[in-house]
Symmetry: D2
Subunit: 313 residues, 4 copies
């Protein structure tokens, strides 16, 4: 517990700087907020949003906006702003956003205070690469998150998680997974902002997703939609592809069909065995998953139907 | 000449669509403008700029903004907007930008009407890859430019340029290059918006740059600052590097020292001879130069000292 | 025709050097051969093959060998060798290979004299990027081939092919494609060593493949097996992928299912329209197809079932 | 100690499989050897080497050969072979190699038994990414090595190394580094086959290199020869480059001038601060260093002057 507390205070500074230059150089009394806005496009949205923020004393330090079409498309915007005493200013700001942005323009908005890091639970099974890469980046303060728990359906990785000072909870999954999911919900519902499936290798049910009340990110070990389902590296070897890849996506009821957040590939050749593909792919998987988690926790992602808008730097 | 005219009318449609979704779906009476703003950062700039645009009836379809620091940094912003009858609205809009953005906030601004494609002259020597890639992308309508002239210090490429219907002007460069540069200025000064050195292999003088009155983009056949100067591929082979690259940059008085726009690399190995490096590098050079020209002509680049801000999509 | 002749003599030198260092520095009287050997693995193959070559006076300048397993796998080997007067030595060498390698070891072999460039016909439709990239690399002497004919089912690209001095043959394809294929066979059967489908966009029949008697390479505009069939870029946009790719493969009776030679990808984002994907993908398609054609014509590829062994440099 | 022993036995299997298919499927009584041969090229080397191996009962499972020129170049060859009871056969094989390959052909050779993993000491300072990536890959059995010791000039990383069961030795380096180097030599001379500088950040002396009697691999945090020396990321930011990289090289007396083994890069932009470059670069550094260590320990590298021949798969 002491370890966790220590991490927490160390990580506070990390959360402030994780947004890059936008959040640098802030003293303790200045807050940094991120405002996401999305909905049907119409003229004047950028102006309206920036007017609200400016009126409340905010200085916009980063703004990116996307419209799917010039007329009649979908609009999405991410705005990072600095505001002294953000926590105190928040209620009045929220009231104006409700009235002018939601009410007046018919848009959805969400406001994120970077002082509140997202609480993340990581699910793993027997392979360590994705899990350890997330924990290592968290410990290096590269990820603006609090890792609250590691949940695993096998006990194998307990010793590897131990040095990080994060609770490791072994929840076996048997034929009927409803019991395990009930245990997961007891542990996590209302206590996490994100669940990451770090090669968890188990399908989660629609009911679990609904009751969890938090988004779930999965890493699939292929370049989707190629090699959907189980055993993608063996399928890749069998097909003789020259690249293998990995895909991080939000989990929906349809296996491997959720909105894609990030993908990448690595070159392979006829000399690579299936085991070589597994090994080369592992490097891509951990990189892709870590990027997806970072972007989600930096509030860079807007889901639009089955696609994602990812606001880069 | 008929060929050039035909290209010109074909390319009109290209200019409107080259900005991607931002410019799509516009009928003939709606203009699309791009506004670049840069200068010392202070609170309220985004709001002020969007207020001016909105007041003039513009709909912001893309906005990207960058600050080098939260307080006291440099600010840069690119805004794409749709505005019916932009040409007619421009004088009043410019007056407000002068008063409120330049006068009130101390910022520089430039306004670009996408209906006016940039006039580009390409300088070449004896190798065709960069020149042809630009001409080919221009003919495919991938680049929102008018290629007005190809200037070469050798006659070798005349036959390859001929099918594109662009005037090919052979201006030999002898020991004293002042005569050639005078001829270049007679041809181009006041008649081009950009000069592209497509492996021209000649140093241009500071005087030429001043009198030209338009930016010049060069492609250097190495990953700068590695292998500055002549013969970079031979130097790369000699050093035994495992990647070779190319760098597109604005030309300044200092050889190979101007602000870098884009760079890329390709993998090489001990099996590659210097000639192999030249060949592999050629593919990188043409790709890097074409991207740099595109970004410049889409008004995506703000020069900040010896660095560039490149606003992506 | 004069143009074709001129190209041909120019390309002679290219064929000698296209193999890289292996083929460099040879005078006119020394031949360079490439020997491919494949079949069931057993001890002693490398030694036996090199003994035969050495006995005939050949100097091995490059050798790569691949076994799918230590015991009981499939063996493949590519050997490049220099041999004075290869043409004269060939019959005796072939007899020994037949006896010792085929007869004694149960392996298949093929011997390629680099003095005989492969005759290549390129099939195109309306898009120029893959076709022009091949023609341009051929003209630059990057590809060790003779392009004998361009065949197209539309006349659109005739003017773009004309400057290269290659016959352009327009063979329309109507509902029943058997007539067109009969015309293709009249033009090509026995006269080409390779047919390249450079975004030809037509399915060729099993009967055509059999009667042609030469391999056919196709470029598919997706990262197979993702987005098999028609309209892959629209499918990619719809699925929201973050990379698009291209695949060069040998054509078999099953559409998009033949042995993959090469694949590559390029990063895309939510800002890219389908048209943007088409444009970005075009750069990958031309690069991937040109690499596949080069490797085939440098005798680097051994087909093993539905997979390829590609011997690199 | 028990932990180290346990690792060692686990790693035995790893050593056998780390060579990929070449070494797969071997029972306990069959050895796998790797033979490196280099020197002035002449006809018949491949044949002579394979004849010696075949005569001793070896089955060649992988062979790659490189000549810098067709005539008068430098020759290098890597041959992987299977041989029952390699240890027993070695003396006679070595005698023949001495007589026929060294004596008869004037070549240098070295023979490596994959049953003997290379003993590796890792030097670190305060940053953990390169060190942990090597330890993690060693624990996953991706690297065919025995990590014998971690040496650090600061104590910071002791706790992170502890879970791996490797001795962590803190050897402070003060103004005069001769004392530290003497301690290093007491620890390592004659006891290691390779020293890896994993962001050790200290220059090692020529005397140390001589007395160590083992190669040393360093990771430099830039794409050499760009940004040689200290502070490369700050220099990269200052120059405004669009890619940052890392270089693994053998250490020689000249700082950052030794033969390059591997390099790679990652894309950066104007939005990245120096700290962002450090973070993005760290991922490239650890990947590049791990590849270099793997290739060295799989006997894939031949040093030819200031360049390396790296035999891929």
């Amino acid at each position: 517990m002491a370890g966790v507390t220590a991490r927490r205070s160390r990580a506070s500074a990390a959360a402030l700087t994780a947004g890059g230059p936008a959040a640098a150089g802030l003293d303790g009394t200045t807050g940094v907020g991120r405002l996401l806005v999305q909905g049907p496009d119409r003229p004047g949205i950028v102006s309206a949003v920036s007017a609200v923020l400016t009126r409340h004393g905010a200085n916009i330090v980063s703004l990116r906006q996307h419209s799917t079409d010039t007329v009649g498309g979908q609009f999405a915007q991410r705005t990072v702003f600095a505001l002294p005493d953000l926590a105190a200013a928040r209620p009045a700001l929220a009231a104006d956003l409700d009235r002018e942005i939601a009410g007046g323009l018919g848009l959805r908005w969400s406001l994120h205070d970077t002082a509140h890091r997202k609480r993340v639970a990581i699910f793993a099974s027997r392979t360590d690469h994705c899990l350890l890469d997330l924990l290592w980046r968290w410990r290096r303060r590269e990820l603006p998150i609090d890792v609250t728990t590691v949940v695993a359906n096998h006990p194998d990785l307990a010793a590897e998680v131990e040095p990080f000072g994060i609770p490791f909870v072994h929840v076996p999954v048997t034929g009927d997974k409803s019991e395990a999911e009930a245990e997961h919900l007891r542990l996590l519902a209302g206590r996490v902002d994100l669940v990451v499936l770090a090669r968890y290798m188990q399908i989660v049910s629609a009911g679990f997703l609904q009751r969890l009340g938090a988004p779930v990110i999965n890493i699939h070990h292929s370049f989707l939609p190629a090699f959907i389902g189980a055993g993608p590296y063996a399928k890749a070897k069998d097909r003789g592809v020259k690249l293998v890849g990995a895909t991080a996506h939000y989990v929906t009821e349809d296996l491997d069909e959720g909105p894609i957040i990030e993908q990448d590939v690595v070159r392979v050749s006829h000399t690579d065995t299936v085991q070589d593909l597994v090994q080369k792919g592992a490097d891509v998987e951990r990189a892709v998953l870590s990027r997806a988690v970072r972007w989600h926790c930096e509030d860079r992602i807007v889901v639009d139907g089955n696609q994602t808008v990812v606001f880069g730097r």
